[in-house]
């Protein structure tokens, strides 16, 4: 009861968040139910493919949430959030790789296939410990956190702001992409990590595992939302918002702006890392393309379309754009890049507050 009241208190005055989260809860429940309990012959059965796709969207939504925290509330446009997502994904994929054991093509119990292929004799040091799921989960959060801390510590301390910060975050993810494309890095080069068999002893291809992953992702999203909302509603959140609006003034008032920025940036990176870790088992592959600047900038447009600075807008944006992307890339692949490019232009020119802003505008007119 106590816990529930905290959640309710966090969501107080957050009508949009309540609506989005509860409708998502309904969708997730219906999809899970229709997949598991309605026989395949029935028209109400929902395929496992749909379950996986929905899980992927929810992981993206969590990523968008993380970006909205830094962009919408701290005013930092990160063009490199894909890097944190990918690092979390790689950390968890390493655990999944170790779970394959001797079921790989080469049947080597000690080494993943690509290492056998590269004639490695023993596991590189940075792969040690990843057969332990708890260690892997810790790394999913620690690796992005450490990168964000080091990067942010340098960047914020020397007061790199605005466009410069955006460009160096882009350079960061670009550099990581180039590095991960190298075979000698020990992360599978351009093929990435794939061919996972099971997770925590459960078969990854089983329907129940997929549904469980979907539900876990949903709860991670809710958890992430609550954390972000809690931070924003707190006293710390107010300082953060004022940093966005008038950085020098906050600094003159005696607040250590760098520390606030760093804290939010690291929290956001951890959330992005968790999103990546949830993404990997569902799509069953991770490769360096996730590091590409294109992906990072695409997720910026999710947030922009949903409406930045609202948190739930980021969730809406991520799901809507991903849905459109899935539809177009299979139905009209030629049109998708025109549409995506057009979205960037139209949203920035005519919808500065995104879908959420549009809805509230319409409401205002009606009232």
């Amino acid at each position: 009861m106590e816990r529930k009241s905290i959640i309710l208190r966090i969501l107080e005055n957050d009508k949009g968040g309540k609506i989005v989260l509860s409708s998502l809860a309904v969708v997730v429940f219906v999809v899970a139910f229709c997949n598991l309990f309605i026989p395949e012959s029935s028209i109400f059965h929902i395929s496992t493919f749909t379950v996986t796709i929905l899980g992927k969207y929810l992981a993206f939504a969590l990523l968008a949430l993380a970006l909205d925290l830094v962009w919408g509330y701290l005013g930092i446009l990160s063009l490199g959030h894909g890097a944190f997502f990918a690092l979390g994904g790689y950390a968890f994929a390493m655990y999944l790789m170790r779970q394959i054991g001797n079921r790989g093509v080469y049947g080597n119990a000690e080494l993943p296939d690509f290492m056998v292929f590269m004639n490695l004799k023993e596991l590189p040091w940075f792969w040690l410990g990843f057969d332990n799921p708890l260690f892997a989960i810790l790394m999913v959060m620690m690796v992005p956190a450490i990168l964000a801390f080091v990067f942010g510590w340098f960047a914020f301390r020397s007061r790199v702001t605005g466009v410069y910060l955006s460009i160096i975050t882009q350079a960061l993810t670009y550099a990581l992409m180039l590095a991960f494309f190298r075979n000698d890095m020990g992360f599978g080069g351009n093929n990435g990590l794939t061919d996972f068999k099971d997770i925590l002893g459960f078969d990854l291809s089983a329907d129940t595992t997929r549904v469980a992953l979907l539900i876990i992702t949903f709860f991670a999203l809710v958890f992430g939302y609550l954390v972000c909302r809690f931070i924003i509603n707190s006293k710390l959140g107010r300082v953060v918002i004022s940093i966005r609006d008038a950085e020098s003034r906050v600094r003159f008032l005696g607040y250590k702006v760098e520390q606030y920025k760093l804290f939010i940036f690291v929290v956001s990176a951890v959330l992005a890392g968790i999103a990546g870790a949830l993404y990997v088992p569902q799509v069953a592959i991770i490769n360096p393309n996730i590091f590409s600047p294109l992906f990072s900038i695409e997720l910026v447009i999710w947030v922009a379309i949903g409406g930045r600075g609202t948190l739930y807008g980021a969730i809406i944006g991520a799901i809507v754009v991903s849905l459109a992307s899935t539809y177009f890339t299979s139905a009209l692949p030629e049109v998708w890049l025109y549409a995506l490019g057009g979205l960037f232009v139209v949203v920035t020119l005519y919808l500065p507050m995104g879908i959420v802003g549009l809805i509230s505008k319409i409401k205002m007119k009606k009232a």
């Binding site: 340098f154 007061r159 605005g162 882009q170 890049l337 025109y338 995506l340 232009v345």
Partner: protein
Amino acid sequence: MNILKIILLNLLIFSFSYSSTFEELSSKLSDNSFKVKEDVVSELIVNYKDEQRLEILLQNMLLGNLYFQNQSNEILFLEKENSFKSLFTNESITNANENDFSKIKINNKLRSVIKASLAKINLFANDENKRLKAAKNILENLEEQDKKILEEALKTEKTSSVKDILLESITNINAKFSTGDEQLIAISKLGSFLSAKSLETLNGLKDSSDEKVKVAVKKALNEIEFSKSIYSLIETAFFGLSQGSVLLLAAIGLAITFGVMKVINMAHGELIMIGAYTTYTIQQLMPNLIEYSVIIAIPAAFIISGLVGIAIERLVIRHLYGRPLETLLATFGISLILQQVVRTIFSPLNQEVKTPSWMSGALEINGALSLTYNRLYVVIFAFVVFFAILYVMKKTSLGLKVRAVSQNRPIARAMGIQSSKIDAITFGIGSGIAGVAGVALSQLTNVGPNLGQAYIVDSFMVVVFGGVGNLWGTLIASFTLGEINKFIEPLAGAILAKVIILVFIILFIQKRPRGLFPQKGRDAQD
């Protein structure tokens, strides 16, 4: 009367024997004696060095393709099967009866005489290129007896490039065939030559039984290695220069749009791509003018990319001034659209852009160092573009207006400058330069829809590293990054080199957020 006739006839014969024509002299080759033929060849060389037919004659004689007509002793050479061509009348005789002609036979001694003569002809030719070719040819197929001709040629040779090769040839012969001190001196001299031939000679002498020779060879080899490493250093520096000029070309347009106007144009790379595709289109439209296509493409690309840039500015960016992050997103959307347009019009695949012949090949400086012409021209071109832009920005009234608007828009407007027109023109110039960069890049890399993406991060790095709003900073930053990249590459590999550079710049910006050459004073405020 009779006496007069005899005298006249004698006079005639007399004069003939002293100055017989090329035809008469060469007819004597029909003689069976090798000794006579040898004399004839030597005489021909002395009297008809500049006669073009002599070279043809000797070459065919060497190959055994020289014949004479049995009755008239007319000299002919075998053009192709059953077809002779007369050296005297230049007429071809097809379907000839082989019995009418006899082959002019040669022996080994005669062969070497002919060879020497051929080399002699060319070594003493008036055409400089011919001499160079002959000298190179001799160096390739060195023989001991060549030494005499080489020394003779050296006496009269004036062109230094030919002289060097002659000297090298003589030194090689001395190193190989001489003995004693002369050989040792020659070996130590070989150390200063860099050709593969000298290296071959030295390597051949490495296992000599003579200790002194061995020591000298070792020393010479070390010397060659040392100068080779220096030349490879120069070569790397040149590659860095070339890489730097590519960066400069890609970044200079950005330095204007981003540096002067403070507009983040993520579609800048695509404007470069449009320039490259303009070159491709021009080559497709005018297949007969490949030689000039690049020259035509430069203004064309400037105009097309410039117009696209102006369209972007008028339609989108104009509405987003003062909102840099939004501009970034909107122009990124435009870049996606432009890429897709190119994919739709052309194809998603890379297109082949031809290189004009004057841009292919390489400038050979010596045996160890050669610079490719396309890179050389791009380096020059980058400087030309840079100084042209610098001139426009610093010395013209347009440049003055651009700088005025970028420094203080309201005051500039108060002075009667139409700021929105200047914005459009500035953006057009920046975009046009991007198009011109595309023309240059089309000669160096693959032309495809992703061409621009590869350069956008790099060009931003250059501009930020150099200091926003500072063209000189952009110049220095381009070449610094180009050189660092090329010098790290052999140590770390191409990809890691790039990563190292990016990390370096990220760290650098932490230290100096405003780049190498920050703007000072009040303008520098955001």
